[in-house]
Symmetry: C2
Subunit: 447 residues, 2 copies
């Protein structure tokens, strides 16, 4: 890359892409990512996941793992992450601190799971504790965001607030000249300069919470206008459990508790009915599509294009460690892959016409990329995900000729559409040379 005064010229093979949003990631599960995925859910939770999460009560351990994870996701071009942490308030605050320090947009949830019949004694709290601690957590993270803004971190500086971004002494022409983006139907207006960290109200999922906890969290969501997240209709089991408990769908139950708002991202959503998806669209609630995790724990492929057709905002999530891969690049690939299995059907013993494929479910690479960028940013109500004036400079610099990589780009006059596809399907962290969040360099360098 040559630099002339304030002008930076990209070298041959270097391209700028919007940073990716990861709408679902259990931060403590990074410590077990890749492991135990052949186990059924109950054993996976009880034998591996809950002990792994409980260990984050050790703040030194939590801090080490959080830093490793935030660095790993930034290195993969992920500029915004919607995190679950653990039920431990201090650990979750630590995650928010690490995000603010490293300059990654962190939407951080302190997990709530209080039902004594559904959770181990060593890893749960009471409904009262859950609500009180969540409220305290909201205050702490908002204070942290204010502090980060005052100390010059991204989010609250006047330059950032206009969408103008300072890239290593350069500037973006036209930035700041735009007015606020209009919001998608049912969603809150997009914010070109949100706080670097935000607290998220996070009941693990309905089956692990009592009504008292869910009611209390719904009240907090209204009181503080916070983001909410949970798992929704992830598997046959979860979907059926909620219906049995309330006589209504997971979506309807979450809505009943005030947890389905225009600041909501619900994870998985594999089994939404037509009216469930309509309710998402009306409320302005978004869906985190987790194609890899669903392979292991959902029993079917989420019909994302159907939801999109009904006006639902959808982004992508890694769901570490229900999915093993921390890369949203990988999720783009996998969203296309699983959509193809859904489109064609899978059982070769049946004739092509009897295989039960859903051709209209097929998702192209471009469509999956849209979910990782525009879809994810809209789900988080941030004006990012596009390289356009007025949008936050949440950007990854991809270099097809970076050292330590071997992308097969043999000619400098290759069709850019082909190079884009090669990048999306074949790039590794080595290809991602630099990552900015709100105009601030958060990974790599320009050199």
């Amino acid at each position: 890359m040559a630099r002339l005064s304030r002008l930076t010229t990209l070298a041959d093979g270097q391209v700028l892409l919007p940073g990716f949003c990861d709408l679902h990631l259990h931060a403590p599960q990074w410590a077990q990512a890749g492991a135990a995925l052949d186990e059924p859910l109950e054993r996976w939770l009880g034998r591996y996941t809950f002990p792994t999460e409980a260990r984050f009560a050790d703040l030194a351990y939590a801090d080490r793992a959080h830093r490793h994870l935030v660095d790993a996701t930034l290195a993969r071009g992920t500029t915004s992450v919607l995190y679950y942490d653990t039920i431990d308030r201090a650990a979750a605050v630590n995650l928010a601190q690490v995000c603010a320090e490293r300059g990654q947009r962190g939407f951080v949830g302190k997990v709530v799971m209080d039902d004594p019949d559904a959770n181990p004694d060593y890893y749960r709290e009471t409904a009262e504790q859950a609500i009180e601690r969540t409220e305290r957590f909201i205050g702490e993270v908002r204070a942290l965001a204010d502090e980060a803004g005052r100390t010059g971190h991204a989010g609250a500086s006047p330059a950032a607030a206009t969408g103008a971004t300072d890239v290593d002494g350069g500037g973006v022409r036209g930035a700041g000249a735009q007015t606020a983006a209009s919001a998608p139907d049912g969603r809150a207006a997009l914010d070109p300069a949100p706080p670097i960290v935000q607290p998220v109200i996070t009941p693990r999922f309905i089956p692990s919470c009592t009504d008292a906890a869910l009611e209390g969290l719904g009240a907090l969501a209204a009181k503080y206008r916070c983001f909410t997240q949970s798992h929704c209709s992830e598997s046959d089991w979860e979907h059926a459990t909620v219906r049995e408990r309330y006589g209504r769908s997971d979506t309807e139950a979450l809505d009943m508790f005030g947890l389905l708002t225009d600041r909501t991202v619900m994870h998985h959503c594999v089994y939404l009915s037509g009216s469930d998806a309509d309710l998402f669209a009306r409320r302005g609630a978004a869906v985190a599509h987790c194609p890899l995790s669903n392979v292991y724990f959902a029993n079917a492929v989420a019909p994302i294009r159907r939801y999109r057709g009904q006006g639902v905002t959808v982004g992508l999530g890694t769901d570490i460690s229900g999915g093993y891969d921390p890369s949203v690049h990988a999720m783009v690939r996998l969203a296309a892959i699983v959509s193809r299995n859904l489109a064609s059907g899978v059982d070769a013993r049946l004739g092509a016409g009897e295989r039960g494929g859903v051709p209209e479910a097929l998702m192209t690479l471009d469509q999956a990329f849209y979910l990782a960028t525009v879809g994810g940013a809209e789900a988080l109500n941030i004006r990012a995900g596009r390289l356009e004036p007025g949008y936050a400079w949440d950007v990854q610099l991809v270099d097809v000729h970076a050292p330590g990589n071997d992308l097969p780009v043999f000619e400098s006059d290759e069709d850019p559409a082909i190079t884009f596809q090669k990048i999306m399907n074949l790039s590794t962290p080595a290809n991602i040379r630099a990552v900015w969040v709100q105009g601030r360099l958060a990974h790599g360098s320009l050199d």
Copy 2:
């Protein structure tokens, strides 16, 4: 890694795994890997693939692309590859030369496609040309293998022939004390020191060849006891086309032409009937399972565990560029992934019991790893794929703490089974520190 005289001690976090076999890779398509996968087969072939392959008539271009590819696959721990090259004999010989030079086991096919109704004028030959050129190619590659053996490359040295392997001055205890492995049912005996390169008779697939070409190639296979490969029952279209032409299955037709032997690997095999699979087992022919490519071009998931249950030898293939990823590590992951979609079914609109899932199709990560190592080596009749005395030292050294990687292994006393799963699911080329083929260092270093 500390080294004391002839003893090499692995550092904490370093593990040895068998090298991987890639049973299906179109070498020239590396130039377009990752691109155009949203296109239907006909456009993908006509607009992208045939022009890409035809370009390899330019030997300088071919040489550059071949070197890039062989290095890229070695860097991912792939020690043996069964290649398609192009119809150009000289280009295919070049690929064998590059393999011999770099020290990767290359099973190389000069592609045959001669039907004027099925192939473009600029990229086909006559049946006579195909047979004559294939025969010449067999001689050239065998001469190359002899030459490589004489100049000290892996394959024909006395030390290698006993299975004893010389690892950077060290040695393997017990190596050479074993007798030749007994072959799996129906297969040829496994060779602990095969030639570094071998010619492979390679009709592209039945729909692109005339009967005259197929008959001639079958005769060459018998005459030279060569490996044969082709695509078999890959898609609904291919499967139906062959049945329409011969009134028999693809498997039966290939057998009729003498192309289904104990030195055969057939690619994809998504639609084998029970009797087709039995015929594979009886002939000792192997299947290359290509889980990623099948997502794009096969219309269903290959029921690999059913074939294994019938005694068929199965390994994994990347099928560059019907699949985009040159890593067999990635194929291990994807074999597990697509097996899960087959096991559960995919359409969430249907009840769990009506989704048409095939639970017995589920493949664990360990089972997929077996295919990448033991299965692949048996398919190629090489005594490798296991870290045992008497087996060729085809090995990859994986380092969970290698620079430029961020595998989440936080503790040195982690359960090795967990670390293994993390490696299989999360490693990148950065983790692969060294690769040996037949005891010769072919990638990386011990330092």
